[in-house]
Symmetry: C2
Subunit: 102 residues, 2 copies
């Protein structure tokens, strides 16, 4: 585990879910958790799709994820703030991991 | 727990998140799990908001929930089928519940 803070993955309505899913899966493999953020219905929809696809990518490696959702206020350059949806994606601890490998 | 199958809560882009959240919280309290379904970005956005609000309603009672997301194909009357997003909302088992009360 690195001590660097994990960057928030920002999703827009134009984001490709497969690409976002790849980014989520990559950070989960390295850090075990990743925050993902979307503003607006189109972006939230892409974020949900990306989360589902990321879960399928990671399940191939026996990694299960859990998603916690919350509202968060995001400052917009000089335009006040908007409410975003934040997904906190976590790697679940599995029994398999607690056993020594081999 | 009733033996009746739990009805799928269908969310549209016009659904009020607070109302859907109330329905989710009610079924979770009774059955411990509820499927929620949305088709299209506007509906998915309302479903995500409703899940967050339901989690806050239930946390007041010390109930924690977990959401699993998946794609599902839904037949449309004579118009083929569309891909919906399905949330399976679960009540988490907590240590508190395993202790006898009082």
């Amino acid at each position: 585990m690195s001590h660097n803070p994990v960057t928030v993955i920002k999703v827009s309505s134009q984001s490709r879910p497969q690409k976002v899913a790849g980014a989520i899966a990559g950070v989960i493999r390295e850090h075990g958790t990743v925050p993902v953020q979307a503003i607006g219905a189109g972006a939230v929809n892409q974020m949900v799709k990306a989360s589902i696809i990321a879960a399928s990518y990671l399940s191939v490696d026996g990694i299960e994820i859990e998603t916690r959702m919350s509202f968060t206020d995001v400052p917009m350059d000089g335009k006040g703030e908007r409410t975003a949806i934040r997904f906190e994606v976590y790697r679940k601890a599995t029994e398999r991991e607690e056993l020594p490998s081999g």
